[in-house]
C-alpha cells in the first residue's frame, strides 16, 4: 500500500461515487439500471486491483464470479423493464 495505489483507488472512488449519485437521482428506472451496470463493471476492476494490493489470488475468482452474476442479473432486469413495470 503505497502512494500510487491510494491515488488509483481514490480516482476509482470518484467515478463510483458519481455513478452512485446517478443511481440515486436517475429520473427513470432505465437510468438507474444503467448506473448499476456501470457500477458493477467498475467494481470488478476494483476487485482485481484490490487483489493485487492485498496479494490475494482468491479475489480474482471473486471478480470473475461477480462479473458472471452481474451480467445475468442485468439481462434479467432488462427483460423485466422491457415488458413494462
Amino acid at each position: 500500500m503505497n502512494a500510487i495505489t491510494i491515488l488509483f483507488l481514490s480516482i476509482i472512488c470518484l467515478g463510483l461515487f458519481l455513478s452512485f449519485l446517478r443511481m440515486l437521482s436517475g429520473p427513470t428506472a432505465p437510468d438507474r439500471a444503467v448506473a448499476v451496470d456501470t457500477m458493477t463493471t467498475i467494481i470488478v476492476a476494483t476487485l482485481v486491483l484490490v487483489a493485487f494490493i492485498l496479494e490475494r489470488y482468491i479475489y480474482l475468482d471473486v471478480a470473475l464470479v461477480y462479473s458472471l452474476i452481474s451480467f445475468v442479473g442485468l439481462v434479467a432486469l432488462a427483460r423485466f423493464l422491457e415488458k413494462g413495470f
Binding site: L18, R22, V34, D37, L49, F52, S67, F71, L77, R79
Partner: protein, 109 residues
C-alpha cells in the same frame, strides 16, 4: 515491466473515472449508456490487464476476466438500451432525428 503495468493500470483507472463523470453529466438514458459502456469497458480492460502485467503469474487469469468483460459488457448495455426504448423513455431536448418509427417492430405501436 512493473512500470509499464503501473502506466496501463493508471490509464484504465482514469477511464473508469471518466465513465462515471460522463454517466453523471449526460442528459438522457441513451447518451448515458454510451458513456457507461465505452469508457468502463476500456477502463476495466486496461486496469485488469495492467494488474496482470504487474504480477506476471496471474496473467492468464486476468486475461480471462478482461476478455469476459469485453464480451459481455456490450450485450448487457444493448439489452438495457432496448428496454429503455421499449418502455417509452424519451430522447433528450437537443436530439436531431428519431427514425425508429420507420423500423418494422416499432411502427405498429
Amino acid at each position: 515491466m512493473y512500470y509499464l503495468g503501473v502506466v496501463v493500470t493508471g490509464v484504465g483507472v482514469l477511464f473508469l473515472c471518466l465513465g462515471g463523470i460522463g454517466l453523471f453529466r449526460f442528459p438522457d438514458v441513451y447518451n448515458r449508456v454510451q458513456a457507461g459502456t465505452k469508457c468502463t469497458t476500456l477502463g476495466a480492460f486496461a486496469t485488469i490487464i495492467g494488474v496482470g502485467i504487474m504480477e506476471p503469474t496471474w496473467f492468464w487469469k486476468t486475461l480471462i476476466i478482461a476478455l469476459f468483460i469485453l464480451a459481455t459488457n456490450p450485450i448487457s448495455s444493448h439489452s438495457l438500451g432496448r428496454a429503455a426504448y421499449k418502455s417509452g423513455t424519451e430522447l433528450a431536448e437537443g436530439s436531431v432525428v428519431d427514425m425508429a418509427s420507420e423500423f418494422e417492430e416499432y411502427s405498429e405501436e
